[in-house]
Amino acid sequence: MKERLLRVGAIIKAEFFLKFRRTSTLFTFLLLCWLAYLIFPDPRSGSTLLEVDGSRALYTSATVALGTASLGTLILLVVGFYLASNSIRRDIETRTGQIIASTTVHNWEYLAGKFLGHVVFLSAIVVGFMASIMGMYLVRGEARLEPQVFASYYLVIAAPAVVFVAMMALVFEAVPFLSGKLGDVGYFFFWIAMVGLTTVGVVGTHGAKRNWTSYLDSPAVAFVVHETRQAVGTDHFSIGWNQFDPAKPPIAFRGLVFDRELLLPRLGSLLFPLPFFLLALVSFRRFDPVQVKKSVQRGQRSLLAQIDIWLKRMTAALPPLLPSFSMGKNPSFSRCVLAEIRLVLQLSPLVPALVVVCAIVSLTSSQSNLQKGILPVWFFMLVIVLADIATRERRAGTLPVVFAVPLVKSGFVWWKFLTALFFTLALTLIPCIKLLPTHPRVAVSVMVGSMLVSALATSLGALTGNPKTFIVTFLLFLYLVINDAGRSAGFDFAGWYGTATPVVQRSYLLFTAALLAVTQLVYRYWQIRRDY
C-alpha cells in the first residue's frame, strides 16, 4: 500500500509542477491580483465589498474574507475547471499515457493522482488569491489583520469548490462524450445550473433552516447568502462592488459562527463530489489505443458530431465551387481570407447549417425577441464557432506551413480576425440590419459586439494557442452581462439591453482595436525572435 501511495504522490507532484509552470498560471495569478484590487474597493470611492441596507460593513478580516472568498470561489469554479482539465488528454497526446499503462500503476492510482494534483494546484491558486487579498487588506483594512480568520473562511467557502472543480475536471476528461469542446461549453451551463439549484434550494426558503441542497452547495453562493442573512438580520444586502449611502454609519459585520449547523453542510459539500470518482474510474480506458479510438468514435456518435458528419457528406460538392473566388494567379490577402473561410466551412459543415438556421430565425423573429432573446443565444453559439479559428495551426503544428504563404505571416492576426468576423457577421448581420431602422443605437452596439467577440477570439487564441482561454473568458463575460441585465451601461457590449451609450460603444471599439494591435505586435515580436 505504501508503494501505491508513493506512486499517487509522484503523480500529484508531477501534475502540480506541470500546471504551476505554465504561462497561463502566471497569467491567472496576475489576474487574481488585479481582481483583489477590483473586488475590494476603497470606501472613499463610494463603493464597498459588503453593503447592508445602504450601509457599508467595516473592512474587518471577517467582512473581507467572506466577501472575497465567495466571489473568488465563483470565479474559481469556472476558471479552475479550464486550468485543471486537459491532463489525461496531454498524456494521450504525448504517449506518456502508454508508458504509464505499461507499468504496474493501477487505474485508481492514476486517477486519484490526477484528481489530487488538481486539488493541490487549485488550492495553491486559492492561497495565492487569499494572500493578494490580505496584501490589499493591509492597505484598505479598517481593523487588525487576522490571518486565521481569512484561513478559516476560505476553508469553509472555497475548499468544497476546489474539490468539486478538481473532480469535474477529471470526470469531464475521463467520460468520452463529455471531453472536448462540447464538454468545455457544457461545463459552463452545468455550473450555472449548479449555482441556480443550490441557491434556489437554500435562499428560496427565507428561513433559518437549511434543506438538503445545502449539502451539495459546492459554489457556496447559497451558504454565503444564508450565513450573511443570519449575521446581518436582513435580506437587503449585497456582496461585491456595491454603492453605499455615505450618510449612513458603517456597520460591524459579526462574522460566521463556526458551529455544527454551519460545518456539517460544508463538510457534505466537500464530500459530495467524491462519488463521481467512480464514474471517472469506470469510463477510463487506460490508454488502450483501440479503446481511446473507440471513445473518440463514441464521441463522434454524439448528435452534434453526427450532424457534422452528415453535413460533411452533403457539402462534399461545395469545395469545387469555392476555388473560383478563393484562388487566383496572384496571391492577395483577401484570397487568403477567403481560403481560410473555405477551410472552416470544410472542417465543420455544421457552421453553414447554423448560419442558415440563424438567418431563418433572425428573419422571422420580432425585433424585441431578436434583441433580448435571440442575440444572446447567437453570441453563445459564437463561442463554439470561433474558438478554433485562431488556434488551429498551433495545435496541429501547421504554423510554419501557413507562414510560408505570402502575406499570411506578416498579417496572421488580421487574417484570423477577418475570418472570425466573417462568421460572426454571418450570425449577427441580419439582426443588425433588422434593428437598424428602429433602434440604430442598438444596431451599432451589435456591430461593436461582433467586432469585440471576433477580436477576443483572435487575440486570446493567437496568444495562447488554446481555445479554452477564449471559451472561459468570453463565457465568464457573458455571464456577467446577463446577470447585470442592462443595469450598467458598461456591460451592454452588444446592445441586448439597449442601454449602451455612445461612450460605451466607443470604449469597446477602442478596446477591440487595442487588443488586435497588441496581439499583432506580440506576434511580430515572436516572429522576429524566431527568425533571427
Binding site: E3, G9, A10, F17
Partner: protein, 293 residues
C-alpha cells in the same frame, strides 16, 4: 523468455492489425522490421500489455501476461512511437516521476540513468528546450530506469539525425546480457549492427524470422547490379524492385532484387541487409518455404 502464441488483433472495422502471429525468443535484440502499417506497433502494444489481443496468448517467462499483466509490467521498459514529453519538467524531474511510477525510489539510480544516456549535464534544464535526439534519449532513459528484463522500443530513431541514430543504437547494444530487447523500425540500418534476430512483418503477419546472417544468405543470388542509361533506367523503374540507384558519369548504377536475372547486362551482387529485407518482403512465400514457417 517470450512466447507469442497465434496472437491476432482485430479492430472494430474488421481489419486485422496482427493476424496469427507466433514467435518464441530468448534473450538478445530482436529487430522487428516491416513497412508502415505492417502491425509492428500493434504487436508491441500487445506485448507491453497496453492493448489486449483478440485471440491468442502471450507468455513472458512462462507467465500468461493477459492473466497476470503486472508480472510483465514489473520487468518491462517501454518507449512508444512518437514519444512526447512534459515540457515544463526538468529531465531529472521527468525521470524521477517515471522512476516513482515504476517503484524505483533511488535518486542515485535516476542520476546514473541520466549519465548512461549522456543527459546528466542538462539534468536540471526544462525539457522544453531539448532537441529531438535529447528527448528521445530521455525516452530511453525512462524505459531503462527500472533495469528491465524486457525492453520494447517502437521506431526510436524516426526523425533523428545520423549522429543521434548511431548514439541511440550504441545505447541499445550496451544493454546488459541476458535481457530481451525488441526494436521495431522500418529503417534497416538501425537493426543490422545490433540485432541478433530479425523478424519481418507484413500485413499483420510474420513473414520471416531468423538471424541477420540467415536473412542475408536467403537473398544471395537474388541481387543484381547493372549500369543503365537514364532512358533505360526510367523504362525499368516500376517493373523491377530496385534497392538503390546512383547516378554516376557512366550512367545509373542500379541494384535490382529478383530471384531470376532481370536483364542480360546485369551481374550478381553481394546482398546488403536492405536488399535482403526487400527480398523477404516481396518474395515472402518463397522465403517462408525456405525457413520452414
Amino acid at each position: 523468455m517470450l512466447n507469442i502464441e497465434s496472437v491476432s488483433k482485430r479492430f472494430r472495422n474488421g481489419h486485422f492489425g496482427v493476424k496469427g502471429f507466433s514467435l518464441q525468443i530468448r534473450s538478445g535484440v530482436l529487430g522487428l522490421l516491416g513497412p508502415n502499417g505492417a502491425g509492428k506497433t500493434t504487436l508491441m502494444q500487445m506485448i507491453a500489455t497496453i492493448t489486449q489481443p483478440t485471440t491468442g496468448r502471450i507468455f513472458f517467462q512462462e507467465t500468461d501476461i493477459q492473466k497476470n499483466p503486472d508480472y510483465l509490467r514489473q520487468r518491462l521498459g517501454y518507449l512508444p512511437q512518437d514519444f512526447g514529453v512534459y515540457e515544463n519538467l526538468t529531465a531529472q524531474e521527468f525521470l524521477g516521476y517515471f522512476a516513482s511510477l515504476k517503484g524505483v525510489h533511488s535518486q542515485s539510480r535516476v542520476v546514473q540513468t541520466l549519465e548512461s544516456v549522456n543527459l546528466h549535464s542538462v539534468a536540471n534544464r526544462l525539457i522544453g528546450g531539448f532537441s529531438g535526439g535529447m528527448k528521445q534519449r530521455l525516452g530511453i532513459a525512462q524505459a531503462l530506469i527500472n533495469d528491465p528484463e524486457l525492453l520494447i522500443v517502437d521506431e526510436p530513431t524516426a526523425g533523428l539525425d545520423p549522429e543521434e541514430r548511431v548514439r541511440f543504437r550504441n545505447i541499445l547494444s550496451d544493454i546488459g546480457y541476458g535481457k530481451l530487447v525488441i526494436l521495431s523500425t522500418h529503417i534497416v540500418s538501425d537493426v543490422e549492427s545490433i540485432a541478433t534476430e530479425i523478424a519481418i512483418m507484413q500485413r499483420g503477419s510474420l513473414v520471416f524470422l531468423a538471424s541477420p546472417e540467415v536473412l542475408l544468405k536467403s537473398a544471395a543470388g537474388s541481387v543484381w547490379e547493372a549500369v543503365l542509361s537514364s532512358e533505360d533506367f526510367e523504362e525499368i523503374r516500376g517493373r523491377w524492385i530496385i534497392s538503390s540507384a546512383v547516378r554516376r558519369q557512366d550512367g545509373v548504377h542500379v541494384r535490382i532484387v529478383h530471384p531470376a536475372k532481370p536483364m542480360g547486362e546485369a551481374g550478381t551482387a553481394e546482398p546488403t541487409m536492405e536488399d535482403a529485407f526487400l527480398y523477404a518482403l516481396n518474395f515472402q512465400t518463397r522465403i517462408a518455404g525456405e525457413v520452414g514457417l
